[in-house]
């Protein structure tokens, strides 16, 4: 049953991504070239609505979750590496599959590259765990924990910040 949910959720997500044009190479590289903010608008809207949704569920006692573990070393080094690769291939893991679905058959090359990277990572994993993961490791902390404020304060700031950014983008025609 959980597999059926995965397929349905993925299909809807694929439809939304395609309709927003967030899976296009030009939209993704365009964001990194600072000439087209489509994916930033899409992502921030998803994040803000998602944050309100999942924290509402948690406050109602319906779900439990904890953020992914924090490691300054892993997120800075890994994040920068991913960003560099993302700019080269023009797709992230999810959107590469979506791009293939809307006929961009050239997305097969980045997909093969990412499969290769997945294999290489298996060999790097022990060294990464030993040397990089412990750098600035804080565990599964949220922004609200670190600031010592209610999660709704953080979400409110995110909403206001996103709206301000959206207005800026629309004014600049980005």
């Amino acid at each position: 049953m959980i597999l059926v949910f995965g397929l349905i959720t993925g299909t809807l997500f694929g439809i939304f991504l395609q309709q927003a044009e967030a899976i296009r190479f030009e939209r993704q590289v365009g964001a990194m070239r600072l000439i087209d903010m489509t994916i930033v608008k899409y992502m921030l809207t998803t994040i803000v609505v998602g944050a309100i949704g999942v924290y509402f569920l948690r406050d109602m006692g319906l779900v439990e979750f904890a953020p992914r573990a924090f490691s300054l070393g892993l997120q800075v080094i890994g994040g920068l590496l991913f960003g560099a690769g993302w700019a080269i291939i023009g797709y992230c893991p999810g959107t590469s599959i979506g791009a293939l679905g809307e006929g961009r058959i050239g997305a097969i090359w980045p997909i093969l590259g990412m499969l290769l990277g997945g294999l290489i990572y298996a060999f790097l994993y022990p060294a990464v765990q030993q040397y990089i993961a412990p750098i600035g490791a804080l565990g599964r902390v949220s922004i609200a924990d670190v600031l010592g404020v209610s999660h709704w304060v953080v979400i409110a700031v995110m909403v206001v910040g996103s709206v301000a950014l959206f207005r800026f983008f629309e004014r600049k025609g980005l």
Binding site: V49, A51, G118
Partner: protein
Amino acid sequence: MKIEQHHKPYIFGALSGLLLTLSVAFVGQFFGTSTTFPRAASGLVQAFGVDMSQIEFYTVGGGSNTLASFPNWQLLFVIGIGIGAFISSKFSKTFTVEKLPSMWVNRFGSSTRTRIAYSLVGGSIAMIGVRMAGGCPSGHGVSGVSQLGLSSLLALAMFFVGGIATARVLYKGGKA
């Protein structure tokens, strides 16, 4: 129903946030895609008869990085993204068979070999980085930041810092 293009990122972004909420509510699943790549890669290697089962990466988490974890929610989610994009593009008549992205061709030319070389190197770097960071723009970006994870906010910021810096080098000054 006609939606103006410049409203679409907001409307479909909001729907995606709602979808994430429903997925968490009903199945307890946040979005994520990238772990499926090392899992699938291990399966491809296995298909060629290479035994890597003793490598630490494939033994941690009860083999959650191997093909043994398939089929799981995330694999079907990833396949779904492809199906959804296909359905959506067919219905909106935006399905386009394209070998190389036009922005790429404008900068790097139409050589498939060049694109393959960049894709294999870039794809490898991207996947190594994303597994190191612990998530991709879906897993860290959307799901992680929705949970207000400090790790996810930092990862998402670094994705863009690395991406913007690299794009500057790759597409220096050139117009779209």
